[in-house]
Every structure is written in structure tokens, then in C-alpha cells.
């Protein structure tokens, strides 16, 4: 395994697909947690701005709603739903892990030095969260396109 030269790679380090290949699904979950967090914060700021149009009367409100009442708008909202479900599910997994559940017992590090905390339980939770996010996006699209 090559030696990590430093922790200051910034965005380049975040988005390097080689890192996901090297460190596995946990690394993808780490990256998605940050990307979905930033995406949801951006959406939240936009949502607060959009809902403030209610103060300008019915015509302005209806016009601002038109932004999301299109096919592209529905797809964008479905992405927001997916981001929200993944961020929530993965966040709950991290909280549970920080409380010490599901990360194994501490033991002497022996070859091949596999960390106890990176185990099948964690991986299964990440895959389940990705699946739930996909299901929620599908349900959201079914409601919006109905």
C-alpha cells in the first residue's frame, strides 16, 4: 500500500475516484455524506428564499412554484429526496458507531491489520442506506409526476 503523503489534498483528494477504489464503500459513504450535506444546505437556503415569495402575493408565489413544477424541477426535487434519505441514514449509522455499537471489540492489531470497525455490519448499513435513498427517490417521483 502506498504511503499517504499528507492530509492537505483538499477537494482533489475528496473527488479522486482512486481513493474510493483503494478504501472501499466506507470512503464513498464519507464522500457522499459531505456532498449530500453541502447539497442539502444549498437546497435549504434556496427553499427559504423561495418560500419568502409567499409575502409578495399569489402571482409571485405561483411564478416561483413554476420553477419546480417542471420535469427538470421534479428530477431536482427527487435528487434532494435521495440526498436527504442518504444523509439521514448514514448519519444515524455514524451516531450508532460513535456510541460504540457495531464496531467490534478492541483487540491486538495482527496481520493483515484489518480494522475491527470496518466490518460487514457497517458495509451492509451503507448499502441499505443507498437502497433506501433510491426507493425514496422513486416514491417521490411517483408522487410528483402523478
Amino acid at each position: 500500500m502506498e504511503r499517504e503523503t499528507g492530509a492537505k489534498e483538499g477537494l482533489k483528494g475528496w473527488l479522486n475516484p482512486g481513493k474510493i477504489g483503494k478504501f472501499g464503500i466506507e470512503r464513498l459513504a464519507w464522500l457522499l455524506m459531505r456532498l449530500t450535506g453541502l447539497g442539502l444546505l444549498a437546497y435549504f437556503i434556496g427553499h427559504i428564499w423561495e418560500t419568502s415569495h409567499i409575502l409578495d402575493g399569489k402571482a409571485v408565489w405561483d411564478k416561483s412554484l413554476e420553477m419546480t413544477q417542471t420535469t427538470e424541477g421534479h428530477i431536482f426535487l427527487a435528487l434532494v429526496i435521495g440526498m436527504c434519505v442518504f444523509h439521514t441514514g448514514n448519519g444515524i449509522r455514524l451516531m450508532i458507531a460513535q456510541m460504540g455499537y457495531g464496531i467490534g471489540k478492541a483487540e491486538r492489531p495482527d496481520y493483515p491489520y484489518k480494522p475491527q470497525s470496518i466490518n460487514m455490519k457497517g458495509k451492509a448499513c451503507i448499502y441499505a442506506t443507498l437502497g433506501m435513498a433510491a426507493l425514496a427517490m422513486w416514491y417521490g417521483m411517483a408522487v410528483m409526476f402523478s
Binding site: 492537505k8 483538499g10 477537494l11 459531505r34 450535506g37 453541502l38 442539502l40 444546505l41 435549504f44 437556503i45 427559504i48 428564499w49 418560500t51 419568502s52 409567499i54 409575502l55 399569489k58 408565489w61 405561483d62 412554484l65 413544477q69 436527504c84 439521514t88 448519519g91 451516531m95 408522487v143 410528483m144 402523478s146
Partner: protein, 116 residues
């Protein structure tokens, strides 16, 4: 400089996450318990704001998500770079943005509710 320890801040981060999750479920159910498009009609949304309980829920949701969101942004920015000046700038920048968003969102809630 730090008034709160990082461990306390993370407890606040998790607490706001769980609070926001519960209130978001109620917020979304308000849209899904009736026809989605009708629920977004102007008259319906105004009626939502005029309900004191729902307006309070929105205000609480606004505060919880703002605190959680901007603390998350602070954590991400501090992961990427460190240094006393940088950390101070990030912390105060996030606090200012959080306060600004809460004030802006509260203005909408209080005005639409007819409280001001």
C-alpha cells in the same frame, strides 16, 4: 477562543439532526396527506402559516436545520484546512450566515402568520 468544546458541539450537531428529522417528517406529511399540488396552493400555504402550531414547528425546524447545516459546513471547512485565523474566520463566518438565514426565514414565518 472556543467557548464550547468540540465534543459539546458534536452533541448539539447530533441533537439538532434528530430534532430536524422528526419535524421534517411532520413537514413532509403536511404535503402528502392531501394532493401534493393542491397543498402548495397559495391559500393553503397561507392557512398553514396562520396555524400557530405549524408556524412554531416551521420556526423550530428553521433553527434546527440552520444550526446543523452551518455547523456541518464548519466541520467540512475545518477538515480541509487548519490554522488559528482560518478557524476563527470559518467559525464566525458560519455563525453569521446561520444567524442571517434564521432572521430571513423568521421574517417570512412571522409576517405570513400575521404576527408582525
Amino acid at each position: 477562543m472556543m467557548v464550547l468544546r468540540e465534543s459539546i458541539i458534536m452533541k448539539i450537531h447530533y441533537g439538532t439532526a434528530l430534532g430536524a428529522l422528526s419535524l421534517t417528517v411532520v413537514h413532509i406529511m403536511m404535503r402528502l396527506t392531501q394532493d401534493f399540488h393542491e397543498s402548495l396552493a397559495y391559500e393553503n400555504v397561507i392557512a398553514n402559516y396562520e396555524s400557530v402550531g405549524y408556524a412554531l414547528l416551521l420556526e423550530l425546524l428553521l433553527i434546527l436545520i440552520s444550526v446543523h447545516g452551518f455547523n456541518g459546513l464548519r466541520v467540512i471547512l475545518l477538515e480541509m484546512n487548519q490554522g488559528p485565523t482560518y478557524e476563527k474566520a470559518v467559525t464566525f463566518g458560519c455563525l453569521a450566515a446561520m444567524a442571517g438565514l434564521i432572521v430571513y426565514g423568521s421574517r417570512t414565518i412571522f409576517t405570513a402568520s400575521g404576527w408582525i
